[in-house]
């Protein structure tokens, strides 16, 4: 029994492989920066990085060549806002590190040690073509949720691409419940905590002087100092149009804040103001119901209207399962393309939609020089698809992360194969693997 378990575990986990130099040729090539697909394109990866991608790119001698056979080749999908790696089974508490509601810390929490690269959600999302994710913590006991990370979904032991890549906070209904019961309290608490962190930065002794009256712990103060000075982007969940405007005003008092709006369900009502503030927005684009009084204006046309107003829009999957179903990212992006055919609706062109799930989230988190496209110098995250990647039936046939060819076999595949015929055979199913 134990031996069987060990064997099956070994079969599931591919040994880490070194980065290979590879040239993928004969591709319908998507760079991911919003430009149109290139027929007959080539992408060259060396030392784990993109060296060149485009038409007429020379293949260096002696390098492995993969003929894409005219299929779509794209950068890996970047999940714009997720909990990939923090959760195995939501309702199994021990396997769910999304939130820390009884912690005495808030902004100081750093999710990196909680990430599990071996978890089956990482493999399932990778097999859907997702190679990177922006991962944010859920709730803490305080106003700030803590520091998220940018991760890769490779089948190796280290998934952190950039730790402490963002700080997360909720305004609106979620924030007010954390701050004591009203939006007014949220804004006051936000301001007071940042001011406390600023005092601490100028004179660390102040924290000790405050003693038990301190609004934040030392670790929280350290994290908030990086938010105040713009080192760490502040991802803000906010939905109501009026709340969005108030959040944008925070830059008046804290001008170095690097704001990123998450959700922004009513963003289209204040699209001009968001564009003028040059604040990127991550949307879960198919939310179209007035799920609460801060989302009365919800519409699938939000993303299209924001884009048309000049807002830098990324498309994510987070008003849904945000740990297991990052594969929905392509489906959601495809739906935005569908809207361009619908009278009165606003959507995204295919090229815009694909950029919204690759280079745009990379830019929002300040990493577009590193991830999210096939431009030279970016990480070697490349996917070959069997068809249009935004179409429902499409799947990756090959995935590289940091130039390493990835296993696409999941636990779900093993279950499927075992029960391809449901009846027991000569031996019970438990022997069938």
């Amino acid at each position: 029994m134990m031996r069987a378990l060990l064997l099956s575990a070994a079969a599931l986990i591919a040994a880490p492989v070194a980065a290979q130099d590879v040239a993928i040729t004969n591709a319908r090539l998507v760079i991911g920066d919003g430009s149109a697909p290139i027929e007959g394109g080539t992408v060259v990866v060396r030392g784990g990085k993109i060296v060149a991608a485009g038409a007429g790119v020379a293949v260096p001698a002696g390098i492995e060549r993969v003929d894409a056979g005219g299929h779509w080749v794209t950068p890996g999908i970047v999940a714009a806002f997720s909990r990939v790696g923090l959760v195995e089974v939501d309702a199994v508490q021990g396997s769910n590190d999304r939130s820390a509601r009884r912690s005495r810390f808030s902004a100081g929490i750093d999710i990196a040690p909680a990430l599990n690269p071996m978890g089956s959600p990482v493999a399932v999302n990778r097999a859907a073509g997702v190679t990177r994710a922006i991962v944010a913590p859920g709730d803490s006991s305080g106003l700030f949720a803590g520091q998220g990370a940018v991760v890769d979904l490779g089948d190796d032991n280290d998934m952190v691409t950039r730790p402490r890549a963002l700080q997360f906070i909720e305004f609106g209904e979620g924030g007010s419940s954390n701050a004591g019961g009203s939006r007014a309290a949220t804004f006051l608490m936000f301001r007071e905590q940042l001011l406390a962190a600023r005092s601490y930065a100028r004179n660390p002794a102040t924290l000790a002087e405050w003693g038990s009256d301190a609004l934040i712990q030392r670790a929280d103060a350290d994290a908030l100092v990086r938010v105040i000075n713009g080192t760490t982007p502040l991802f803000v969940r906010v939905d109501r149009a009026a709340d969005i405007l108030n959040v944008l005003k925070l830059k008046g008092e804290f001008p170095a804040l690097k704001l990123v709006l998450v959700g922004a369900t009513e963003g289209w009502l204040v699209a001009r103001e968001i564009a003028a503030a040059k604040v990127p927005v991550l949307v879960s684009p198919l939310s179209d119901l007035p799920a609460s009084f801060e989302r009365l204006g919800a519409t699938q046309s939000n993303a299209g209207r924001l884009e048309a107003a000049g807002v830098d829009v990324s498309v994510g999957v987070f008003d849904d399962d945000d740990a297991h179903k990052m594969g929905y990212t392509t489906q959601y992006a495809g739906n935005l393309v569908a809207l361009t055919k619908l009278p009165g609706a606003s959507g995204l062109s295919w090229d815009q939609a694909f950029a919204a799930i690759t280079s745009a989230p990379a830019r929002a988190v300040g990493m577009d020089g590193t991830i999210g496209s096939l431009r030279a110098g970016r990480v070697g995250d490349v996917v070959i698809w069997d068809n249009d990647p935004l179409e429902l039936g499409s799947r990756p046939t090959a995935v590289w992360i940091d130039g390493k060819r990835q296993s696409l076999v999941t636990r779900q595949d093993r279950l499927r194969d075992r029960y391809a015929t449901p009846q027991e055979g000569a031996l019970p199913k438990a022997y069938d693997r």
């Binding site: 609460s292 699938q300 297991h324 619908l342 935004l390 499409s394 499927r416």
Partner: protein, 470 residues
């Protein structure tokens, strides 16, 4: 993330019951008087909240040059569909004559299907906005509440109905109580036509359903209250004790003996007599197998297992028993009993010959059940299965109609059936496709090209985005 948690709870708790106008028992108002003193066998009114739904006016309509999926696995390319007086008149090839007086819609490059039927929805009982005041889907005060009826919770102003219509082409749906309880109560089947009252939406002649739930939810909800059931064996013990009581009650009824009126027992007796269809939330294969034995033990039939994440493990058993499996394409991992989900579940169940249904349990996914079916179809094809688009459409209309007991009225484009029809602006299994027109009983209830054919609920009137494309 918030939705994941909510979804898992709802997944655990869904079952409701629909209107029961179909039963032949004579209706006699029971009033408030106890029936025990009656000398004669008491006949209770089985339809005290009757449907007042009526079809809206439609025009005789011909859609031509269109690709037709008939809902029962048939396909006509470059076809003609005719409907009039609320009913399907005929479907046929390009040579089909279009009678005088018909409005003609050019369907070139488009697809025509029966309306989508969602067998598992909580619209109205968990409506938008999802505020506590609207949380009416689980009577989580007792593990068995067969006496509650979902229709008494449905808020007809839920904006979710209009989204399901306009974005999802949903023309009928079953509203179920949640899955906190082993026996959650009666469901109601609705036509997706806005009305002032629930009665105005009730599908005429649809049998009632009764929601049951296996597994994690009931034992968690009641175990956490320190009462039975707190285990799966507790789940079965409470179920069996309830069925035993119901069998005794029904025996008295059948023998014409006087009984105290008992609303819970009336529902259960309705199940045992086959008038009320069991809609059973159940994820795990081993639990479904035990429920099947329980149904044999007490002499009832499970119409469909909902959220049957592990149906693929016992697809042969489901086929043999004639029980439908209502499935998501790829929901997984939100709770332990959803851990063994595989994307091929839909296709594996279909290939085993079992009745396969794609359901939503969700106010968002109900807007794109066609897309969910497309994912399941693609997963099956990747395994090498030969499944046509038109066969896959049975998962969205005919099979759910069958499991709801309304397949003689809707669910396919056979002549004489309700003209519940969707014209899609492309192949409905493509992500780039949306409904262009939706007819219910032959009346045009949604038209993407006409903002006046877009319902706006009372709740959304005068709010930001009123009448928006959504």
């Amino acid at each position: 993330m918030i939705r994941g948690v909510k979804g898992s709870l709802l997944a655990a708790v869904s079952l409701a019951f629909a209107g029961c106008a179909a039963s032949g028992t004579s209706a006699q108002s029971a009033g408030d008087k106890p029936a025990a003193s009656a000398e004669k066998p008491v006949k209770f009114n089985k339809d005290p909240y009757p449907s007042t739904y009526h079809a809206y006016a439609g025009r005789p309509t011909a859609v031509r040059g269109v690709t037709i999926f008939d809902g029962e696995g048939g396909r006509i390319d470059n076809g003609v569909a005719l409907f009039a007086d609320g009913k399907v008149v005929s479907i046929g090839g390009p040579d089909t004559a279009i009678p005088a007086g018909y409005d003609v819609v050019d369907g070139t490059g488009k697809y025509l299907t029966p309306g989508v039927i969602d067998i598992h929805s909580h619209l109205g009982v968990y409506p938008s906005p999802s505020v506590d005041a609207h949380s009416d889907g689980n009577e989580a005060t007792s593990p068995t509440t067969p006496e509650v009826w979902a229709e008494h919770s449905v808020w007809p102003q839920d904006p979710g109905f209009s989204r399901a219509l306009a974005n999802g082409g949903v023309t009928s749906l079953q509203i179920l109580p949640g899955s906190a309880n082993l026996i959650g109560g009666r469901s109601v089947v609705l036509k997706n036509v806005p009305a002032r009252t629930v009665q105005g939406m009730k599908f005429p002649g649809a049998p009632y359903g009764m929601k049951m739930a296996c597994g994690e939810n009931p034992k968690r909800v009641y175990g956490s209250k320190g009462r039975m059931p707190s285990t799966r064996m507790g789940n079965f013990a409470v179920d069996r004790a309830t069925w035993a009581k119901a069998a005794a009650y029904k025996k008295k009824l059948d023998e014409g003996k006087p009984v105290d009126r008992d609303l819970a027992m009336e529902t259960l007796a309705g199940v045992l007599s086959g008038e009320i269809l069991v809609q059973n939330h159940c994820y795990r294969a081993d639990e479904m197998a035990q429920v099947i034995d329980m149904s044999h033990e007490f002499g009832y039939k499970v119409s469909a297992f909902h959220h049957a994440v592990e149906a693929y493990k016992i697809a042969d058993v489901l086929a043999k028993e004639g029980i439908c499996a209502a499935i998501w394409a790829d929901w997984w991992g939100f709770k332990m009993e959803a851990y063994d989900s595989v994307p091929e579940n839909i296709a594996l169940v279909y290939k085993a010959g079992a009745c396969t249904i794609v359901h939503s349990d969700d106010e968002n996914q109900i807007q794109r059940l066609n897309q969910e079916a497309a994912k399941g179809l693609a997963a099956g094809r990747r395994m090498g299965m030969q499944i046509s688009d038109e066969q896959a459409w049975t998962w969205l209309s005919y099979n759910p109609a069958k499991a709801l007991g309304i397949a003689d009225k809707t669910g396919s484009l056979k002549p004489g059936k309700m003209a519940d029809v969707v014209l899609w602006n492309g192949n409905p299994f493509s992500v780039y496709t949306r409904p262009e027109k939706v007819w219910i009983d032959g009346a045009l209830m949604f038209d993407a090209t006409d903002p006046k054919r877009r319902p706006v609920s009372d709740f959304e009137l005068g709010q930001p985005g009123e009448g928006d494309v959504k």
